[in-house]
Amino acid sequence: MLSVHDIDCFYDDVQVLRGFALELREGEVLCLLGRNGAGKTTALKAIMGLVRVKAGKILLGDTELSALPPHEVPKRGIAYVPQGRRLFAELSVADNLEIGLMTRGKGRPVRDTVLELFPVLHARLNQRAGTLSGGEQQMLAMARALCLEPDVLLLDEPTEGLMPSMIARVRETIAELRRRGVSTILVEQRVDAVLPVADRVAFIENGRNRETVPVEALRTDLDLLHRYVGVGV
């Protein structure tokens, strides 16, 4: 459903993505793994239009996302939860969700459905987002993205800085979204935290997608993770 075709991206003169390619299938969780600086976050930003694509193209079905201005991309059903949550800290939890809802003209029923996934936010609707704990902020960032009712969800290191119980909660949420048919690209450093919910794994190195394999392959080829990420299973 979402396909990235040989894109090149730069930060000023520094090339970060070099012919990067990727295909996300409907309803799957694709985990993007790689060392620091490999280009994982840039790949997500390029899909969202936040980094300009200088060559190649990104398609969602028949729509060329890379030809759209950044604010049009979420309206096509792609939601992004950036690294570090990036909430509107001074606004209430309810207002953060409202801003997500308004993007695609969704209403209260969608919010209620989303809050079923994150019951902890129910009691905190009037609280300022900046006063939530790290785990709650992550829940809110995901909830805000889900208020768009996206077909594709991009998650950038959702478990960063979270305690184990919260990591398990994030993992459960991703699994639940997969059951609901949301396709997800997941960028993570904590391989152990996400592999249980991933369908396939793409390894990125120096701005290129080196290999995309079913998650089961990691159990037969024990060297894969070590080769691209520098850790064992």
């Binding site: 950044p70 604010h71 992004y80 606004l91 801003i99 308004m102």
Partner: protein, 321 residues
């Protein structure tokens, strides 16, 4: 508190403020009656300003150009073309709307300090234009609208805007409309997007909003409300001079809003009222009254960086819009 309770409280508070202002005309001595009419017009200007500065986070140092657009739009058409006050008022609003959209297309290509400088420079250009075209504007001396020019008929009734009661109620209608427009905007989706832009423009764009368009709408609304205040000033007080296009009238609304509370609907009124009376009282004691007012403002902002109503909202009344 449920959202419905909050809405009820907010509406009651704003209706209460408007009612209190209406009743004030029956109890205030003549001098304060006049001062309050002026304060309401300037508070309408500050209300327009806070939509851009307080809610959208865009610090303009050139808002006097919008006030002056309304002032001259109304003043010149009534003075030179013989238009009626309502027609002149419409011309003032139209001038403000056109100017704010034009300024928006230029100034909103910049952010932060650059935005401040661009708006200030454009306002200086408007100020210099008001001096350059002195043949029509009479520059600093200004044009004076006579009583006859400020009188019109509506539904068989004669309205003379130079009379204190008519002037007071016209100022009240202007302020009430500005306040209610501001309240409606900040509670509407546009208002939420404006606040989101103030918090972080990139994040807002990432969530699917055309931030340029939202900022342009905020600037157009802000500029048009400011122009409505300027047009009213010319018609109610019978004077349009280039002083109102000067940098001072770009700084004043910033001070009023900072003191009253940026991003509060009622803060502009509180700030305008407080500073007007601070100047009024201190100028009775010393010719260095602006120094005293400045010191008081610095202390107030240090004590309460979110302004008077902002502090009240932070500490006691979280539901205040």
């Amino acid at each position: 508190m449920t959202p419905a309770d909050t809405t009820k409280r907010v509406l009651m508070l704003h209706a209460g403020v408007i009612a209190a202002l209406f009743l004030a005309q029956f109890v205030l001595p003549e001098y304060h009656h006049g001062v309050l009419a002026r304060v309401m017009v300037l508070a309408a200007y500050a209300t327009g300003y806070t939509l851009l500065f307080g809610y959208t986070g865009l610090l303009s140092l050139g808002h006097a150009m919008f006030f002056a657009a309304g002032l001259y739009g109304a003043g010149l058409t009534v003075y030179h073309l013989g238009w009626s006050p309502p027609a002149g008022f419409g011309a003032g609003i139209a001038a403000g709307l056109v100017l704010s959209v034009m300024v928006g297309f230029v100034a909103l290509r910049t952010t932060g300090v650059a935005f401040m400088i661009v708006t200030m420079m454009l306002a200086q250009a408007v100020y210099l234009a008001s001096l350059y075209f002195g043949e029509w504007t009479r520059g600093d001396e200004g044009i004076v609208l006579t009583q006859a020019m400020r009188t019109f008929e509506i539904a068989g009734a004669t309205i003379d805007l130079s009379l204190p009661d008519e002037r007071f109620n016209a100022a009240l209608i202007l302020y009430a409309c500005s306040l209610l427009i501001c309240l409606a905007v900040v509670r509407a989706p546009l208002g939420r997007v404006m606040v989101a832009i103030r918090e972080n423009e990139d994040r807002t764009r990432m969530l699917g909003y055309d931030t340029f368009q939202a900022k342009l709408m905020a600037l157009a609304l802000s500029g048009t409300l400011s122009a409505a205040a300027g047009a009213s000033y010319a018609l109610l007080f019978g004077y349009a001079g280039s002083t109102f296009a000067s940098i001072h009238y770009s700084i004043y609304p910033l001070l009023w809003v900072l003191l009253g509370g940026a991003a509060t609907t009622l803060g502009p009124l509180i700030g305008t009222l407080a500073i007007t009376y601070m100047i009024d009282v201190t100028s009775g004691f010393t010719s260095a009254y602006l120094l005293l007012v400045g010191v008081m403002l610095v202390l107030l902002v240090l004590w309460s960086p979110n302004g008077l109503l902002g502090a009240l909202r932070d500490r006691k009344l979280a539901w205040l819009p």
